[in-house]
């Protein structure tokens, strides 16, 4: 009965909060104000998680929002195509880009930041591409061969590919790039270094003939082909690298559909169509040649609500990564079309520190897992635009074990029962105690997720768990998390990866204290499973490998090391004259491909 009352009050609070936020959103108040303060506090979440957003795979697509039906990876099959081919050419697309800070580097092979990929995708092209069904199709490499021991990858390049500076892409140029990326001197902090397994499994690159090169591994790496499709390892012009030296990251020269026109720091990056481009993958794009658009202007907005305003004022044609409160407002605007995309990969989840009492007890973790009403959480904080999650993976992740969903749910009675059985009795102030010890948890989080934290705090109190919230930003947040000062904290959820190997990034014991293992789980058996999965030789989608990951999922979820909360989406909006159906997306990322995009001037 007592609990019911609490739930009631929560409902009413939720209602009023929602009303308030809605009104604030309509005024445009909440985010510009809160947002700029947050910005100043260091919006850690956003800097670290750009891989997150969307894709589509509308499995759990029940958010009831008017969605343009298909924002598929393969836009060709449903292109509206109501303008003749010839009339599509021309125009400048003004795009409010994903990142809220300036780009760090436009050279994808040495970049350390993930938002840079927005530019990287247009400037570069990949050796291979991946289409739905996880099938690889030719890109810059027209064919490839993987040795039976999975240690040698031989790629044969197309012979007609030139860089933006007119020089030829050949095997020597490819080798030059791989050598540069796998050398700490020339690539001190770049993502490509670890992507290629440099310093670990990467052996070297050999030129076989003019257009054939071979990459050697010292150990099998099951996810290597996934890495070869990333723009992080895309070829850069050796001539331009030699010419610009240290300044190359400002003057990138790739083989992509667009070339760099200018980079006005802290303001915008302007890309221009590459006239000679002729190697777009026909499996993915309708237009395999020069892009329709003449230019794409990537404008950077620190304040996400300002970006929405700029779109409404007609100063942008397309805006990516908008806030839920702005999306709610824009949905009511008849002139603007809103696009909401599911993400593929992982849920946003809580990590429980199993090395610190009392979250070291499985009963406490189980109680947390069952005390959170995810429906109410997504409804009140994200206006129902995000979707509750009961698993760390999205259902379309390969090897997804749906039976594990039953481990999670909303049943406070179950939480209470579990805690009582474990000897935690309600104390005077409603917080449980056992042998003089109070059931109080420290929840470390960043400013942006504070509303989520407050919601969880209220719900855990309902079952007698006290939660103290501590907000930290940026490096401070990371340090506290690495040191395991928390009982619970936001996990690395939202990372998109095409393979369940992503688990290794936040649960492998070698990452405790140095990387993002915030659960502090140190289980040699689990480590071994994940390593076996990584070094798997043979078909990487085989039932044997799947069994490894299903076992790993169970070993992580059954002891409640983590508590899934919700699946994130990406929120975008654009004017109808932008042919949005023709925007391509990385199947596992939120980044746009502009190859097929065109502007319908007649509707502008």
């Amino acid at each position: 009965m007592e609990r019911l009352t609490n739930a009631d009050s929560l409902m009413s609070e939720r209602y009023s909060r929602r009303q308030l936020l809605r009104r604030a959103a309509v005024l445009g108040v909440s985010m510009p104000v809160v947002g700029s303060l947050l910005l100043a506090c260091g919006d850690d979440d956003d800097v670290t998680e750009p891989d997150t957003d969307p894709v589509d795979e509308p499995d759990d697509d029940d958010d009831g929002t008017p969605e343009p039906d298909d924002d598929d990876d393969e836009p060709e099959d449903d292109d509206t195509a109501d303008a003749p081919e010839g009339e599509r050419y021309g125009g400048v697309l003004r795009y409010g880009t994903l990142g809220n800070v300036d780009f760090g580097s436009l050279d994808m092979t040495t970049t350390t930041g993930t938002f840079d990929l927005e530019i990287g995708r247009a400037l570069n092209d990949a050796y291979v591409h991946m289409i739905e069904g996880e099938e690889f199709v030719p890109g810059l490499a027209e064919s490839w061969e993987i040795s039976d021991d999975a240690l040698e990858y031989t790629f044969k390049l197309r012979e007609d590919i030139v860089f933006h500076d007119g020089t030829q892409l050949d095997a020597e140029a490819a080798k030059y790039n791989f050598d540069r990326m796998t050398n700490r001197e020339t690539n001190p902090g770049g993502i490509s270094y670890s992507y290629l397994g440099a310093g670990a499994t990467y052996g070297g690159c050999d030129v076989i003939d003019d257009y054939t090169f071979r990459l050697t591994m010292t150990e099998p790496n099951a996810i290597f082909m996934f890495r070869m499709r990333r723009r992080y390892v895309a070829p850069q012009s050796p001539t331009a690298i030699e010419e610009h030296g240290e300044e190359y990251f400002r003057n990138p020269v790739g083989v992509g559909p667009f070339k760099l026109l200018r980079w006005e720091e802290d303001s915008e990056v302007v890309l221009e169509a590459f006239e000679d481009y002729n190697w777009g993958p026909p499996e993915i794009f309708e237009n395999t040649g020069r892009p329709y658009l003449d230019q794409v202007v990537h404008r950077i907005f620190r304040d996400l609500s300002t970006k929405a305003t700029a779109l409404e004022a007609g100063e942008l044609d397309l805006a990516a990564r908008l806030l839920p409160e702005d999306i709610i407002r824009l949905q009511d605007d008849p002139d603007i079309e809103v696009v909401i995309r599911d993400q593929t990969g992982q849920a946003t989840f809580l990590s429980c520190n199993i090395d610190r009492y009392p979250t070291s007890e499985v009963e406490v973790r189980e109680a947390i897992a069952w005390a959170i009403d995810r429906e109410a959480l997504t409804e009140s904080i994200f206006f129902g635009l995000e979707v509750p999650a009961y698993h760390v993976f999205t259902p379309d992740m390969w090897s997804y074990d749906a039976s594990l969903e039953d481990l999670f749910g909303f049943d406070p009675d179950r939480s209470i029962q579990v805690l009582e059985d474990a000897g935690w009795e309600v104390g005077n102030d409603g917080i449980r105690e056992r042998e003089g010890e109070r059931l109080e948890l420290l929840y470390i989080l960043d400013e942006l997720t504070l509303p989520v934290g407050q919601f969880i705090q209220a719900q855990l109190l309902d079952v007698g768990i006290g939660v103290q919230l501590e907000t930290l930003a940026g490096a401070g947040l990371l340090e506290a998390q690495l040191a395991g000062q928390h009982h619970i904290t936001g996990g690395m959820g939202g990372w998109i990866q095409e393979d369940p190997d992503v688990l290794r990034n936040w649960i492998h014991s070698s990452l405790i204290g140095v990387r993002q293992n915030y659960t502090l789980v140190n289980d040699p058996e689990l480590d071994q499973l994940l390593e076996d999965g990584l070094k798997f030789v043979g078909d990487i989608r085989s039932p044997e490998r799947e069994a490894l990951y299903q076992q790993a999922q169970a070993m992580i979820l059954e002891p409640y090391y983590v508590v899934p909360l919700y699946y994130r989406h990406s929120f975008e909006a654009h004017w109808p004259y932008v042919n949005v159906d023709s925007i391509g997306y990385d199947p596992y990322g939120t980044y746009h491909d502009w190859n097929d995009v065109w502007i319908d001037e007649s509707r502008r």
Binding site: L39, G42, V47, I191, Y193, R299, A313, L478, E479, N505
Partner: protein
């Protein structure tokens, strides 16, 4: 005069040193390691700890606080504020490349404050005690107590989204600076209005004003030629002081209007934990503030000889 100049100069220098210590230690007191953070943005399999340590050593973050500070000051005196980790170029170069956009905005804000503040102040003083006076005072009170970022949002809603008169974001053309400079200048305008009014009222009581009126000079001439000339000195100095405030306010204004300038660079630097750049910009803004104060002091002494010997 020279004596006074030197005295003020020394005190300005002391303040500047204080500011440098504050900004420097502030950045160091922030929890977390910037190098660790830099690498943490990459996926799980990041560089090994030795690599991070090496980077830290290269950047000099492994040295004791005091040595780091002394090095910083020595370099700063030579005009070297360090290199931005994120942009990979000298901090001074970044500041130099962006300062004009912020100056542009601050000066435009100052103009708005001056024109609006002076005319409303004169109006209120001339119509003292009437409803015009009361209304002006209420409006100016609103102006100076309204958070300017909130005003900025309201301006965008009305003039960009509803009426479509001015662009909501960006820089470059003249009409793009109207809303941001207005939002920025209104607070100062409120202060100036009240100052001009009280200063005018004081002057209007002077005997030479009475004389002028008695001679039959037109009231508008009395106000502008006789009274304003003398009454404008205190507001003018206040305007100088406001310049530093406006530079600081530009940080938020630039963010809201998505404009280029020191403000956006500073926000970027904070977001990307670019300590050297944050320090550099804070120091620069503080220096501008101190400098404008110093210049005002000098001007004041020049205009009013009594101050020099005080």
């Amino acid at each position: 005069m020279v004596h006074y100049f030197i005295r003020r100069g020394i005190s300005a220098a002391v303040v500047l040193i204080g500011v440098s210590i504050l900004t420097f230690s502030m950045m160091h007191m922030l929890p977390g390691d910037p190098v660790e953070y830099m690498f943490a943005r990459t996926l799980g399999e990041g560089p090994p700890p030795e690599q991070v340590e090496e980077m830290r050593r290269q950047l000099g973050f492994d040295q004791p606080f005091l040595i780091q500070y002394v090095n910083y000051v020595v370099d700063a005196v030579r005009g070297d504020l360090g290199t931005s980790l994120y942009h990979r170029r000298p901090v001074t170069e970044i500041i130099a490349g962006n300062v004009r956009y912020t100056m542009e905005l601050a000066i435009a804000g100052l103009l708005i404050a001056m024109v609006l503040g002076t005319s409303l102040g004169i109006l209120a003083a001339a119509k003292r005690g009437t409803w015009v006076d009361s209304l002006t005072m209420v409006v100016s009170l609103f102006g100076l107590s309204m958070p300017f970022f909130w005003l900025a949002i309201l301006l965008v809603l009305l003039f960009s989204l509803t009426l479509g008169w001015f662009p909501a974001t960006g820089q470059g053309s003249l009409n793009q600076i109207v809303l941001p400079s207005f939002a920025l200048g209104v607070t100062s305008a409120g202060i100036i209005t009240r100052l001009v009014r009280s200063s005018m009222l004081e002057v209007l009581r002077q005997e030479y004003v009475v004389t002028a009126r008695a001679k039959g000079v037109r009231e508008s001439l009395v106000l502008v030629r006789h009274a304003l000339r003398n009454a404008i000195i205190p507001p003018l100095t206040m305007l100088g002081l406001q310049f530093g405030t406006l530079m600081g306010g530009a940080v938020v204004t630039e963010t809201i209007f998505a404009r280029r300038g020191l403000g956006t660079v500073l926000v970027d630097a904070i977001l990307s934990h670019d300590m050297k750049l944050v320090q550099g910009i804070l120091l620069f803004i503080a220096a501008i503030y101190i400098l404008s104060n110093f210049i005002v002091d000098m001007l004041y002494a020049f205009i009013d000889p009594r101050i020099r010997y005080a």
